[in-house]
Symmetry: C5
Subunit: 327 residues, 5 copies
């Protein structure tokens, strides 16, 4: 599905009078005076992408990747063209889960083709930003690469913040006095963090290359600081995710320690409770003995005395265990 197709020149979108499917015409319109086409596709079929590939001369392997999706983030150089794969991330509040999509970008000197898989509206945001920031858009196709990477990476930081909140909740739960079952929660969070890492880590190398101006065809001196900025946010996300992962590990260990402590507390409570029963049972046993000469047995108040004795001993034990913190 074609989401949008536009021609940009000197930093502004220029109107074209051909259909959005007429790729050669679009390209021709762009060619004059250093303009470029930005074609946005959403989950295109093999056939759709095939036509685009032919019109813009895209490399066979890159096209295969863009159809299949499920690639890892990477930057490929095919002749003068670039092929960039990004993972998109967003946090779904209902499920407390991180979802992933994918953006594939083909970049030539006079075109950018973005192929999006999965939900998320990052590309509209990027297009909107660029169309209102002439001084960036005027740099040509590389500005689209920057804008897309920037919005995608900013979304990573948001996801990391959401995960941070989840970790804070887990932390609170682990150190509360309540008996909590945190290990499943921690496991799930660690899975999500692994998901984020799979998006963030492999993207660092491509961004580093853009930031150091070593990508062939994008040696643009002025572009580098912008990509360094993206790189910086990416590093921030990567470090935050590492820290969260370590905190979760520590929290898990604390959770296990808490289980042991509770086990111990329970054992003490149970033992104290048992004492309240077995000691009176001993007293009852004593007065159940069949000696002929047991003065208490003949007392008229012997029975209430025995009951009071049991109750009294139990009360003393209760007080004693309460004081020692066992009950």
């Amino acid at each position: 599905m074609i989401v949008d197709s536009a021609v940009y020149r000197h930093g502004v979108r220029i109107p074209v009078d051909c259909s959005s499917h007429d790729y050669p015409a679009l390209r021709a319109a762009a060619a004059a005076e250093g303009g470029f086409v930005w074609l946005g596709l959403y989950q295109p079929s093999g056939v759709e992408l095939g036509e685009v590939a032919e019109a813009f001369g895209l490399h066979r392997l890159a096209v295969e990747d863009a159809v299949k999706a499920h690639q890892r983030p990477k930057l490929e150089q095919y002749g003068d063209d670039l092929f960039l794969v990004l993972k998109t991330l967003w946090y779904v509040d209902e499920d407390d889960a991180v979802e992933t999509g994918e953006i594939n970008m083909f970049v030539g000197h006079d075109f950018v083709i973005t192929v999006r898989h999965g939900r998320g509206s990052q590309l509209q945001a990027a297009r909107h930003y660029l169309e209102h920031t002439e001084h960036v858009l005027t740099k040509g196709p590389v500005s689209v690469v920057y804008a897309v990477c920037d919005t995608v990476v900013d979304a990573y930081l948001e996801v990391v913040e959401d995960l941070q909140e989840d970790v804070d909740e887990v932390e609170e739960s682990v150190f509360s006095d309540a008996r909590t079952k945190d290990s499943a929660r921690i496991y799930t969070l660690k899975r999500e963090i692994a998901e984020v890492r799979r998006a963030v880590m492999p993207l660092r190398e491509p961004m580093r290359r853009f930031a150091s101006g070593t990508v062939v065809g994008v040696e643009n001196e002025e572009a580098a600081p912008f990509f360094r900025d993206v790189m910086d946010h990416l590093t921030q996300a990567a470090e935050a995710v590492d820290t969260l992962d370590q905190l979760l590990s520590t929290a898990f260990d604390a959770h296990v320690a808490a289980i042991s402590v509770q086990q111990n507390d329970d054992m003490r409570r149970i033992s104290a409770g048992a004492a309240l029963v077995v000691v009176p049972t001993l007293i009852a046993g004593v007065y159940g003995m069949n000696f002929e000469h047991m003065p208490e047995l003949q007392w008229s108040l012997g029975y209430p005395f025995a009951l009071l004795l049991m109750g009294g001993v139990a009360a003393v034990l209760f007080w004693f265990f309460k004081r020692s913190g066992w009950l």
Copy 2:
């Protein structure tokens, strides 16, 4: 055993009129116009391989390796010839186990000799692919290297997916309420993952060299993107395997925590059950005392009263423990 021997030229298989054992003739047939021989052997004896080695001038050490098998994946350069060792992997559903085989490749400018050990049909698949993809086969022996590596690495990804399913099962089992014995399962999976890693990790360096075009004799500019593709899948497999390993470690920790929690739950259940017995025993003890003046003993309904008292106390305790979650 010779599986197949064929001569290729300009991307197509050409018929030869000599026996598949007549190596010099095959080579001569190939030599004209930049063709090459692809000889496929399956677990050849030392003698068989010796003849081949003589006909194609293979290096003594490489031949030794190919006979012994049990090498680690590697790429060796012997003069102008290459020697490549790959591990093949496949998942055996019946045993939930990963099995390994080995492929050794000798590559010269006019020949490719593949020596296979262990089960698995990856080579047929590669030969079939090549014979139907002229534009790749036309690149000469390197196309065979690519096709074999590609099919082998794709098989890695399938194995990783099967392991992913196993890990999902373990995960479900760990977090179910049932008492499960997951540690043996997790251990076995970790062994299999170590197996996969032994195949995947050492192959990265050879693939990196092909992908960057630094293998002497294969500086072919057009081949690099194809090997970068393989490299990419390999990296995907490596990262997936690392993630699985870490998830299994976390799952194992969660399993141990679950054992502790169950221990605690059992202790509470046992204690509550014990209370249901010892408290009535105390009551029985009380009415077993031998005081002369115990009014209840003379009551005509004393005995049912005592039984009801025991039952009632037990019922109250039962309700109490049920409410507190101990039973």
Copy 3:
């Protein structure tokens, strides 16, 4: 808010007769004879910083970073100007917590602009040091970078010392015989250490660059030893923090082991206590049997004998368990 604005030349502060807001005049005053302006801002608004940016030609992206704060430590090169981000740390005794602030520095050949976020008075200290150390100040703007980095990094070392004390306390608590709940404390300390690490680790690369004289515009041979000194303190902080983290992990493991040992001790104590009750209960049971021929029952001292027997057995058990260390 402008905290201070001054012009320095030949290592001394020179008086200026313009307002501290009149940036062009300040810059003009400094320009003569290789002087420079040092402008100190505290949590400036976007507008305030905008004016400064215009007057000194600061890069748009750097200014955005300085307004937002929450950057990670880094050194950016924009044309001839430098942009340096530092995290400041201080230890709040009341909360046993590490707090963080941020300093952003813009450095040109004739100006230094410091933008501070959060508490902490490190900049006054740096300015005071410089104004009293002519031989350093005379090196120009780089001397300000050094003085600020030096005071910031010295503060890291103080924070590390405070954390060291906390770790010592935890250690003492873990190995005391008292039942302590150290896991929450350890978790919190690990969080603080992660905080410190986030400030220290990324700063090493910028300091390394200054120390090796590879920062464009600061190739000053004489400055390098000073930055090597800062680098050294930074490395000391980084290593100390790593050691503390590992010690805490070990202390945590020891804490968990201590819980197990206590559990075991409790179980033994409980069992010994139970024996003191159940053995006399057995004796009482024996004399509660209804045999016709039990000589003790007819003894006139049978009852005291039974009680003494119970007491005696209990005393022997008590002594026995005491000796074995169970009580």
Copy 4:
């Protein structure tokens, strides 16, 4: 002690008519036509080695190392001479232990001196191999280095296989239902593995240097593939040892989990057993009550009824616990 001293030329051992102690004569005999002396020493005294050192001009520090032994594997360059230290490993079946020895080699352009410490016959094997493999021996002193390294490293692989078997045994023991004390066994194996690692890891750098032909004096193009082969086996040993170490860690964790599970099983079994006693005790207590009106007491079959009741209840409980898996 001199084990063997021989002169080799053009790949064969040539007879000499001087005593094996007459080093200058040996050297002179070798000098002609590119031959070389191979002198084999076993735990020589300082004096013995001193004479050799003088005759062949060995470096003082290297000689000190060779006398002391207990060096770590390394390759040193002293002028044109090489000094190589290797650790030898062998597995002693009786003790299930790995023992270590040491080989020091001095290599010049016309001599090789091997100094062996500790048991193990690797040098005879190497000498035997060389004297029967003319095409290798003909390469001069470097062929001795290769042959020794090859046999030493092959012995590592054998040791690793023996350890693999031990690990398999531990694994079986850990996952058996028997109560095993595996932690001491695992600890010992980890110590042995650390021993192996100390031999294997530092040797990789010297082998890498030989394999890449960057050792001064051994730039021999033809030697490199041979050392690459050794390097390969060394890497295999290193990887196998790492895998074993990780498997042992996992097995240890599984062992600890098994202890917990057994603890839980025991607790359940004990509780069930206790129930079989305390419930009949309650029944006995009931019929021990002294109510005047307890019909069962007058029954002539009351007593057998009570015993049957106890037995029946115990049987029901037994069946119940059996079914729930507690007994």
Copy 5:
């Protein structure tokens, strides 16, 4: 405090006729014919060191470091002079503890100044060695650097051996059947090992630089092998310390496992002990029942029979539990 001040020329100590405080005279005496001064200071005051600094032109920052001590090991280049910081280690038997001191060295082409903090006599040993080893001392100031580093690093190896013994003791204690409290011991040892690591690890870089001859002013070809020897011992210490640390971690895990096993053994022993009491209690309860028709009660030997029954049952249980290993 000045410990010793001497002038060396051509490898021997030459007498001087000036006081040991007259630095310019010493330096002048040394200057002729390539001699050098070696000045040994012990915990000098700021003033003392100030005079020395002036006489030999030491760098301000280095002098500050030497007064403060508590630096991390490092090698600094100030112009043509070197500044080297070493940590000294020694093992105090009484406390089973590792103590640390510090040596600072200033090295110029005609002087060496050693500043020692803390106990330890390594410098005397070094001076003694040099004055008796002319062929080393003759190399000039670098020979002092070598001798000091060599003795300091040899002391590391001794400390490591002492720690090895401690670890062996811990190991024995952990795997003994006695109930031991090893976790505090292990924790302390890990702290000491961290201490050693702090001395050893940062020294590797300076030694590597000396060993590879890349220190400006010490490119002396002949010195490199000596420093490679030191480097080698340092690496040995570093590796030994790593191995010890890992062994301690494994020993700690084994200790925790041992606690669990003991817990389990205790539980079994307690349960078996309890059975010996509760089963006779049940029998007593049975004969305490009030049935009219209980033949045993009328037997004249009923009571001894009951006691024998109790004793017999207890004996059987005792034998049974003994056989099963529960007692």
